[in-house]
């Protein structure tokens, strides 16, 4: 295959259509045009439709009187003086409350079940497996209906309340627990508690430094117990037991006194906790299985017993695998708390996207605000978990 011509072969100039860069620009411009057209037509249609339906736009409704009441509120709010903006904060705080408690409880339950699935005890492992399989394969909404309609609703009425230990009462209007009242000097106990926590942190820091420098270990757990539990207890007795409890009592057809925890809250918390715990259990199990067996064997060879092996060798390595999926489970729990609307717990979606939307009709603004809140929660949570994850991650050369 020899060429007869000695002239250099010049590559033919390709058509501009086949230039990848030009093509890229064309594709992107086309997409921009489509998206822009969609947004423009949606916006112009929305303006037209809103005008036709005589619905106001903008965020002016924020300061308007709301005129509806909410049963569970963490900040003062009532129907006569409340505004839509205030109702938003009530709902947001309720969402954050159930999400925060749910995250803590589901973490404990999830770690417990996850470890139980790996237990050498056959019965324990099988029961944990059955729990995980059932919980993970049923819709959360069905579980919430179960907890609310089948478990909490059929409870007796306040007159036949179920007596629980420590003066708590359970009936179909919720759980009533004694309300602690601080007498004179009672605030000292809270201060003692806070000081105990602070002192524990300081001691732990000091003990770690000492151990790094000298190798000597200090009993951090015991000191923490003393500072956090015994110190407030001592203050409690020293100030002459200034805490009194107001117990719930029957008055007419209802109970008076005590703190009422609404059944909607209990049902949502139970549902979210057990559901998320099933997923966390699988995450934990996968994390522990990901630590190679050689690590445990090496720890045993060093003479560590089972407890320290788990605490010092297995869990720190398993946490690296566990944290990223754990974060997404926390986020899922927070997002799933919006199912509250199905059982009437006044969370952000029920109060704001439900009642406020129905009253004002301003769908665009209300839904946009709600979505922005959840997006913010998601982004902030992943930010914090990323920081924590970076601290836990393997430091490589």
């Amino acid at each position: 295959m020899s060429t007869t011509s000695t002239e250099p072969v010049r590559p033919g100039r390709a058509s501009l259509l086949y230039d990848p860069r030009i093509r890229g620009y064309i594709y992107q411009l086309a997409l921009l045009a489509i998206v822009g057209f969609l947004i423009y037509s949606a916006a112009s249609n929305a303006i037209e439709n809103l005008r036709a339906q005589k619905i106001a736009s903008g965020f002016g409704f924020w300061h308007n009187a709301s005129g509806f009441d909410v049963n569970q509120k963490l900040i003062p709010y009532d129907a006569s003086t409340g505004t839509y903006g205030r109702a938003f904060y009530v709902g947001l705080l309720n969402t954050l409350l159930v999400a925060a408690i749910g995250i803590v409880l589901s973490t404990f339950l999830g770690f417990f079940v996850g470890v139980a699935r790996l237990s050498s005890n056959w019965v324990v492992a099988k029961i944990a497996m059955v729990y995980v399989e059932i919980i993970r394969n049923l819709p959360l909404l069905l579980q919430l209906f179960f907890w609310y309609n089948a478990v909490l609703k059929p409870l007796p009425n306040p007159r036949q309340s179920i007596q629980l230990p420590a003066g708590a009462l359970l009936n179909n209007r919720g759980l009533y627990i004694p309300d602690p009242h601080l007498g004179p000097g009672g605030s000292l106990i809270i201060w003692a508690f806070l000081i105990g926590i602070a002192a524990t942190l300081v001691f732990r820091h000091w003990a770690r430094k000492q151990q790094a420098a000298t190798g000597k270990q200090y009993p951090i757990g015991l000191v923490a117990l003393g500072l956090v539990v015994l110190l407030p207890l001592a203050v409690y007795f020293a100030t002459g037991r200034p805490v009194s409890f107001v117990y719930p009592e029957l008055a007419g057809f209802n109970l008076r006194g005590g703190i009422q925890i609404f059944p909607e809250f209990v049902a949502l918390l139970l549902g979210l906790t057990t559901y998320t715990a099933g997923f966390i259990a699988e995450v934990v199990r996968a994390g522990i299985l990901a630590v190679s067996k050689g690590q445990t064997e090496a720890a045993n060879a060093l003479g560590l017993r089972a407890g320290p092996t788990l605490k010092l060798v297995v869990i720190p390595q398993a946490m690296r695998v566990i944290i990223p999926p754990l974060t997404s489970n926390y986020l899922n729990l927070t997002k799933n708390s919006s199912l509250a609307v199905a059982i009437g717990y006044p969370d952000l979606v029920q109060v704001f996207t439900g009642t406020v939307l129905n009253q004002t009709g301003q769908a665009v603004e209300v839904v946009a605000i709600t979505m922005a809140v959840y997006l913010t929660i998601s982004l902030v949570t992943s930010l914090f978990m990323n920081i924590y994850n970076r601290r836990m991650a393997l430091v490589e050369r």
């Binding site: 949606a42 324990v124 394969n137 819709p139 959360l140 069905l142 979606v349 839904v367």
Partner: protein
């Protein structure tokens, strides 16, 4: 040799005969040892075992008694399930489920038209088996069926009416026209020589006219058969319109799940490709869409679809009440699917991309022929898991007023015909069994695929 050693060490003890083989000690073998090792290996374990056995022994017989032994299986109304009317303790009221089963499956769909729903169920089952059974023949035909023909047929059969008949007629005309074109092309392939290029044209010309372009011809033939059958049904029995307000029960649950999977896979693939694209604007738009949808709860997406979608289109095109949550679910599922598929794309070794490029394949050919077939295969378990989540999430449409399966159960619970103390427990148990069987079956499938995919890596 041995003699010499024995002589040199006169006091050594050498056993002359083999000992009888002894049974393994009781503590390490046999069922007793298993019990000791796995149930009673220490005080804590013994306590846990006893506690668990106690819990199971007290609750399981109760459950069996309630749901089976004391249960009522037949009856016409609530009297069959009331303890004082029957004169014995009454457990679950299965008679209620039997009585309302048609409603749970079809909702308020007209009884005379329910055969149409049954055909759609059968078509859906065929499609699912075709897609999931890895050794199934004619996979490409299966994809075409699942993503094009089945949705169109389901729309025509379930909704019916003039619009559906027009759709069937247009589909028929289109496939007939394509068939005619391909018949001509089979005999005169030179007509598309400019598209195929001379080398491909030569390959095509080698085959006999019947075998030329066999792939597209199969698809067209299949489409002709399906449209023909639909046309026959429409003209002989007739497909009167059934408003979506009448749809309900498992029909709607499966419909939402099917719409979710049929739309989320193609859109998910596009979004995943967009997110990995080198073109900044395409990447940015994909990332914003994916992260936005994944950052908000499905309920807010459903509320958005329900309240904002009608505002975004001209009044006369206001979407149907069932269509709105379907759009919401499809968007939501697409974002999650995109992340699963992106995982598959990232798991592809760079050599695959480079190999495809060195063969001279363009972007779309590279993706279609080399990358996506491998990437999608390894994320089948992830896709199935996402689909399980989607299937469970279909219950949320209850909140925006759609009568899915769970909502039909809730609706019958307030009906006085079957109002008994045990109806609720029975209804929830039935719902739980339904959802559990579907989700658990899918998760088993995903695990088996995972095992087969991992077989290559096993040492």
């Amino acid at each position: 040799m041995t003699d010499a050693t024995t002589e040199m060490a006169p006091y050594a003890f050498v056993r002359k005969e083999t000992l009888e083989q002894q049974a393994a000690p009781l503590s390490v073998a046999g069922p007793l040892a298993w019990v000791r090792n796995n149930l009673f290996s220490g005080p804590l374990n013994t306590l846990l075992t006893l506690l668990c056995v106690y819990i199971v022994a007290t609750s399981l017989p109760e459950l069996i008694r309630f749901y089976f032994i004391d249960a009522v299986w037949t009856g016409a109304n609530r009297d069959a399930c009331l303890a004082d009317k029957v004169g014995r303790p009454v457990g679950a009221c299965w008679a209620y489920v039997a009585d309302r089963l048609q409603y749970f499956i079809y909702g308020s769909y007209p009884i005379s038209e329910r055969w149409r729903v049954n055909i759609v169920f059968a078509m859906f089952a065929l499609g699912v088996v075709w897609m999931l059974w890895t050794q199934a023949p004619k996979k490409k035909l299966g994809f075409f069926y699942f993503f094009v023909l089945m949705p169109i047929s389901a729309y025509v059969l379930l909704l019916g009416g003039a619009g559906a008949e027009r759709l069937v007629r247009n589909g028929m005309v289109l496939s007939l026209a394509l068939a005619a074109i391909y018949v001509v092309l089979s005999f005169v392939p030179q007509l598309v020589g400019f598209y195929l290029g001379s080398a491909n044209l030569a390959v095509v010309q080698e085959a006999s006219p019947l075998k030329r372009f066999s792939g597209p011809k199969q698809l067209i033939l299949f489409a002709l058969v399906v449209f023909g059958a639909l046309g026959v049904l429409a003209s002989s029995i007739g497909l009167p319109r059934v408003d979506t307000g009448l749809w309900g029960g498992m029909t709607v649950t499966f419909l939402i799940a099917a719409v979710g999977i049929v739309f989320s896979l193609p859109f998910g693939i596009l979004l995943a490709l967009g997110r990995r694209s080198k073109l900044p604007i395409i990447q940015l738009i994909s990332v914003i869409f994916i992260e936005f949808v994944r950052g908000v709860p499905l309920i807010t997406v459903l509320f958005m679809a329900n309240t904002m979608l009608p505002l975004f289109v001209p009044q006369e095109y206001s979407p149907d009440r069932l269509l709105r949550p379907l759009i919401g679910v499809a968007m939501f599922a697409a974002a999650y699917m995109a992340e699963v598929i992106r995982g598959g794309l990232q798991a592809m070794p760079k050599g695959q991309y480079e190999g495809a490029m060195s063969l001279g394949l363009g972007y779309w050919s590279m993706m279609r022929l080399i990358i996506l077939p491998q990437a999608l295969r390894i994320v089948i378990p992830g896709i199935v898991n996402t689909f399980i989540g989607l299937f469970k999430d279909t219950t949320l449409v209850t909140i925006v007023g759609i009568f899915d399966f769970l909502r039909t159960i809730e609706a019958t619970l307030v009906d006085p015909t079957w109002a008994t103390p045990t109806t609720r427990a029975t209804g929830y148990a039935f719902a739980a069994v339904f959802y559990f069987l579907c989700c658990w079956g899918m998760s088993r499938y995903s695990i088996s695929v995972e095992k087969r995919l991992a077989a290559g890596q096993k040492r």
